[in-house]
């Protein structure tokens, strides 16, 4: 695929001036988002994610800097031209923002108001859209009669009505349960692949990024502090905040709590080693633990595992208690290190060595 920028921020700044103070919600962000990708923006509450994304369709006017979408500098347009461009940028929200007084059908049809389509064509289009999001049977329901996931599907159908090139998702799954979240993310991925729509996803959940994004930007205090393809960022996070995000999603760090609490599960027999293994190399794919267990004749007791497939490669880690003859345990750990796995010994009950290579 040829890389082609569809959204570009150039030194974007956005200040909010309230009576008593000034908030710099976005400070000097320059970013490029490629056509056809799913781009994630992650950050804690107040980081400026929404403000940044709302600058893409000018729901927020930048204080300075430029926003260029598909070759058009939106930050320089007048109201009318801007409205025209906005039709090419769909947006969905955490709270769905459907019109309560209109049926599902009318909610979607409203997006086509002023599009010049005939009544029949509008109807046809709405039906197609509802079918695409899997809600044909609910066309005559009112939003209040739908579940959160269904509401978001309607919102997606509505956002797709004008055949947008870009879809902005502001915490689109944050109000949904994990299963529904998965289904909505799946739908986003599908429309990205099938319709070629560039998707920009804001979230504070690393899982969302992990599941569907190609690129990710980490925001903190109005700045993008880390940016890159999702696998690299996961494999070797540079900034503390990025590490925090990765750790939140992983249950591996629970081991430290268990050790601290002296939980019986982490009591070691003499000769055993409690270690955390982290895979951060896209080539690791063989069943390492079981092969190590066989090859070195050690017992591997897996306490936690958190493996994910990101961009087609495994990433994550496991917490394992290795038992057996001391030398064998040591060589097994060395072997793993050689294989490019980061081995962190958390507790060591070997008599002789406390150090592994």
């Amino acid at each position: 695929m040829i890389m082609e920028t569809i959204i570009e921020f150039q030194n974007l700044k956005k200040k909010f001036e309230t009576k008593d103070h000034v908030v710099e919600a976005v400070r000097d962000v320059s970013l490029r988002i490629q056509r056809g990708e799913i781009y994630g923006i992650i950050g804690f509450s107040g980081a400026g994610k929404s403000t940044l994304v709302r600058c893409i369709n000018m729901l927020e006017k930048p204080s300075s800097g430029k926003v260029i979408v598909d070759g058009v500098e939106l930050s320089a347009l007048g109201e009318k031209a801007l409205r025209h461009e906005r039709k090419k940028i769909g947006m969905i929200f955490q709270q769905f923002n459907l019109m309560p007084s209109r049926t599902v059908f009318d909610n979607v049809a409203l997006a086509l108001h002023g599009s010049g389509l005939s009544k029949e064509k509008t109807e046809k289009k709405v039906e197609q859209l509802l079918e695409y999001v899997g809600l044909s049977e609910r066309a005559n329901s009112y939003p209040s009669q739908l579940s959160g996931g269904q509401k978001q599907r309607v919102a997606i159908a509505r956002a797709l009505a004008n055949d947008p090139k870009v879809l902005l998702c502001d915490e689109a799954t944050s109000a949904l349960d994990p299963q529904t979240t998965r289904a909505i993310l799946e739908l986003l991925r599908r429309l990205n692949k099938e319709l070629g729509i560039t998707v920009v996803v804001i979230t504070h959940e690393m899982n969302v990024i992990k599941r569907i994004c190609d690129h990710v930007a980490v925001m903190e205090n109005g700045e993008v502090v880390e940016e890159g393809d999702v696998f690299s960022v996961f494999a070797s996070p540079q900034k503390q905040i990025t590490k925090d995000f990765i750790n939140i999603t992983s249950n591996l760090t629970e081991i430290y709590d268990l050790v601290e609490r002296k939980d019986p599960i982490v009591d070691l027999q003499s000769g055993e080693v409690l270690a955390m293994l982290k895979f951060r190399n896209a080539t690791v794919s063989e069943p390492l633990i079981s092969s190590v267990s066989k090859e070195f004749d050690v017992v591997c007791n897996i306490l936690f595992g958190d493996l994910d497939i990101i961009s087609g490669a495994p990433i994550g880690g496991t917490v394992v208690i290795f038992g057996g003859e001391e030398e064998k345990v040591t060589s097994a750990l060395n072997h793993l290190t050689d294989k490019g796995i980061s081995v962190e010994v958390i507790r060591d009950a070997r008599s002789a060595s406390k150090i592994i290579a």
Binding site: R86, K87, I89, G90, M91, F93, P100, S101, S144, Q145
Partner: protein, 226 residues
């Protein structure tokens, strides 16, 4: 039957035509001034909503002007407003008495109240919905008609109900200063000439009107809430 009514309502039964006329006058006043109030109230209410801070056509000066005007007019008691408005009333409808003369003060006395009600009703609409409309590329006119005046229907119906009932009360007061209608009827006979049966029946008729308005309002509000 006839005898019983004559006995119970001696003063009313001999003034039935006048009674009916005054009912019609009251209805006329409510309907005509109500129509104007609705129109101007919505117009000003919408203006307030769209021009306020963060509104879709933010215009601080315009907002402030309407906001202040409403406050001023709402603080003038209706009876005083009637006499203050006499010159204007004569200018517009060429009379200051009767149904016609009542319309001007009724409209001016009620519009500020209703405009505030409209403003409150429309501010109940989820900001997110307006935001979504903007994101869809809708212009201000479309947003006003397709979102505000549509999503606002239940709250507007309730606001209209309250205002109509209020207006009905004011027509009775306007009646006292020469506008005719049920208020005038009740005061002239019931109050000034101690014909209590007339006071009672007029009151009952007014209560019935209030009930009808309330039921109609509730019906519309309910039917448009989903």
């Amino acid at each position: 039957m006839q005898d019983l009514l004559l006995k119970l309502l001696p003063n009313l039964m001999v003034r039935i035509p006048e009674f009916i006329d005054s009912i019609i006058d009251t209805l006329k006043m409510v309907a005509i001034s109500g129509g104007f109030v609705f129109l101007f109230g919505i117009l000003i209410g919408v203006t307030l909503i769209v021009t306020r801070d963060g509104g879709i056509l933010e215009q601080r000066a315009v907002f402030q002007a309407f906001d202040k005007l409403i406050n001023i007019f709402r603080s003038v008691p209706f009876v005083i407003l009637i006499s203050l408005l006499l010159p204007l009333t004569r200018l517009i409808v060429h009379t200051s008495i009767g149904v016609k003369g009542a319309i001007v003060p009724l409209v001016i006395g009620t519009v500020p109240f209703f405009a505030r009600q409209v403003e409150a009703a429309l501010s109940e609409i989820d900001k997110g919905v307006i935001e979504a409309a903007k994101a869809m590329g809708m212009g201000p006119v479309t947003i006003i008609f397709k979102i505000y005046l549509r999503e606002g229907i239940p709250a507007l119906a309730r606001a209209t109900t309250i205002t109509a009932i209020n207006l009905l009360g004011l027509t009775a007061m306007a009646g006292a200063v020469g506008a005719g209608g049920l208020g005038d009827f009740a005061i002239r006979y019931g109050h000034n000439r101690y014909m209590t049966d007339i006071t009672w029946v007029t009151t009952i008729v007014l209560i019935l009107f209030v009930c009808v308005i309330q039921v109609a309002g509730n019906f519309i509000a309910k039917r448009s809430t989903h």
